[in-house]
Assembly symmetry: C2
DNA sequence: CTCTTTTTTTCGAGCCTCGAAAAAAAGAAT
DNA sequence: ATTCTTTTTTTCGAGGCTCGAAAAAAAGAG
């Protein structure tokens, strides 16, 4: 049962509202914040002057944005870039990327490289992450890093501290959060990559991706990030939302997860590849397929009506029926198709729409809109950054300065 | 974006917390409320004395519950039955039931009868509801009815004012809420029956049905009520959660909804009936099957291994794969099987568990626990009552009396 | 009949938000 | 150039709310 509201919670929550309003809007004035939050001008004035004094917000002289109206001009408030910084770590198949992002959301420094995640021993995989973070922290100088977020394909535990399982490595149960916190002394969470994509879309296009939407990652496997009623949906015991492992055909094609008939076993890159080569559905999935190979496959499918086109058709059908089942549960919502598979969405869309129209969930299937974004890595990185920054907003800065005690010396025994 | 907390919201929310704590616990003392809400004793004292003065709560002298400890004995607080009352209306296939329930949750008067919902014209169907409510209100005397809730199979609109579609009647888009409000001048909502079952389970066994669980109604059709993170899950455009219309086998058996391959097309009573008679999967579903017939079918299936047993096996399989897909999305959770179909759960469970074990969502399928409750009507009624009562708690009584102003004369010019 | 223990109420302090009024900072009008 | 308007922002006192500490209440124990 949720707990009552203490008196001091009030300030904390309203501070959080103000910070959130500033992050959401582009440099709003105090008046705009008052309107957005429904709080009075006096309250906004008091809170914002506190936040400025604490170095969290700053007034921007900048634009002078030529006021066409008369009256006292509005003073724009902005997040102070130096107030904090965060580290994002994106770990994908054969790929690692680290960035430092300031409090206003600008990237300070970043690095990325290829590495063989499938063959690397566990300690070396972790070592590569640590080394890259260490290098970037060196470059980022004396910034006050307050949070790190690591995104990875696969499932995490509910506390978002451990990668339970991932297709990018044979190792499971890697406690990234503990390791990184031990090394750098900064709070860390481990997040599902598709959830971060969904988070990023919310910030990129809040008009379209507002309360309810679905991000589907079409890649070697199939992932999903789901936002319901404005909140990122996560499972109760894990990161949840394993759209790729909904059952498309009971006892059907062999999936990478070892079961049969999952959506992914028809729509993942390896499944399309397998079907295009007219291999048996019982054949073990291959480990990795290059983007170039998948593009070539799509080109062949576009050129002539052969097994390649049929493979994409079956992929679209699987996703269509999967979405139909999902929509039966949650009602139709906008969909973003992300990842290399989205580059072949022209092949997938017609059978997908045909399939979804044959389901109860796809009742108004014509009205369901799909957006396409083939490059997932920038989205994942943005999602990590926004997640880390909003954590600082809500959990650290909203709490305010530790009620004077001007010079407290922490003893280290 | 959610709105800031005004100062007067504070009291309202904490009053709601106190009322909710009293409804949840059995006659708690002020001390127990303080512990449950995390608020201070002084605050609880102030709020509860207000609520007593307003006639919402009352101290119970009753039990004297032999205090074994020394010290000032705790004074139990209880909801005052006369503070309000609600009307519940349960509309099911060929069945109508109305009850008046007092603020403490005790049934004051109730009535139920059979009627042919499938053949009744729309206005007569509505007329029967109105007449039964009118009769019960007559019996209930001068109680302050503050809310009505009508539960019905099928989908409602997001505002819960209109029954969009229901299998119990050929008519669609019936605006029950407007009609009832127009007739009785009391706020009304229209709810999905399975959602009310889930609501009731939360109150009946809060240990088991706490944050995440699933209620599945096995009846002529298949319905679901889903609770996630303690909140009843509803779709964004409708009542949502159409588990029965997730796709089990693409292009498979003909469903009552007109599509093919839905879970319901294998696991609904009509589907089991159709399969047991070895009819084609293309055969139009029959309109209704009596409970006695279904029980006889189950008895035959138990007695010998024939098409009847196979029909139940396929039903279990469909539900198992459906749950597997659902669990892929939300992680496994406790399940309650409700309705006449649950009386044959012994036939359904083994193939269900076998199927779910073959899905990624059913990873720890042995640990998934099923409870069985064949009689759904009392659950639906309880759910309606609790939903109506908690609405009064949160939205009406939490707001408090209209700030004294002992004799304010409103001028009408 | 006087302790001890536990629950409940009372009371003053400290915050917080709000509305009204004042101050500030411009453009428009004279 | 100076005086209106207009709009934004700050200031200030009032009113509420919760909290902790202390007091009061209501028992059982000794």
């Amino acid at each position: 049962m949720s707990v009552g509201i203490r008196h001091d919670d009030l300030r904390r929550r309203n501070r959080a509202m103000v910070i959130s309003a500033v992050r959401r809007a582009f440099q709003p004035s105090r008046t705009e914040i008052a309107r957005a939050t429904g709080l009075s001008h006096s309250t906004i004035s008091a809170i914002s002057s506190d936040l400025i004094a604490e170095g969290i917000l700053a007034e921007t002289k900048s634009g002078e944005a030529v006021s066409l109206k008369r009256g006292r001009p509005q003073v724009a408030l902005a997040l102070k870039p130096e107030a904090a910084a965060v580290v994002t770590i994106v770990l994908a198949l054969n790929f690692l990327s680290v960035a430092v992002v300031d409090y206003a959301g600008q990237t300070v420094t970043s690095e990325q490289r290829k590495l063989s995640t499938l063959t690397l021993p566990e300690d070396e995989l972790i070592g590569e992450c640590l080394a890259m973070v260490r290098r970037r922290l060196g470059v980022a100088g004396g910034r006050r890093i307050m949070r790190m977020v690591l995104a990875v394909q696969g499932t995490t535990d509910a506390g978002r501290r451990t990668m339970l399982w991932s297709p990018i490595t044979p190792h499971s149960g890697i406690g990234f959060a503990d390791t990184l916190e031990g090394e750098f002394g900064i709070p860390v969470t481990v997040e599902n990559d598709c959830n971060m994509i969904a988070e990023a879309l919310k910030w990129r296009d809040p008009e379209r991706y507002r309360d309810d939407f679905i991000a589907i990652l079409l890649s070697h496997g199939i992932g999903m990030g789901l936002v319901l009623k404005g909140e990122l949906f996560t499972g109760t015991q894990s990161s949840g939302g394993e759209f790729g492992h909904m059952i498309h055909r009971p006892d059907g094609a062999l999936c990478r997860c070892g079961r049969r008939g999952c959506v992914e076993a028809y729509a993942g890159n390896y499944a399309i590849w397998r079907a295009a080569r007219q291999s048996s559905e019982d054949e073990e999935p291959v480990a990795d397929i290059s983007d170039a190979d998948m593009k070539a496959l799509a080109a062949t499918a576009r050129a002539k009506d052969g097994p390649e086109r049929e493979a994409f058709r079956r992929a679209g059908e699987a996703i269509g029926f999967g979405l139909g089942s999902l929509f039966a549960l949650i009602d139709p919502a906008p969909v973003a198709m992300v990842g290399i598979g989205a580059a072949a969405f022209d092949l997938i869309e017609p059978p997908l729409r045909e399939a979804i129209a044959r389901t109860a969930g796809g009742q108004h299937s014509g009205a369901i809109s799909f957006a396409v974004e083939p490059d997932e890595v920038p989205l994942i990185r943005e999602g990590c950054a926004m997640r880390a920054l909003t954590f600082i907003d809500q959990e650290i800065f909203a709490a305010g300065a530790p009620t004077e005690t001007p010079a407290r010396k922490t003893e280290v025994a």
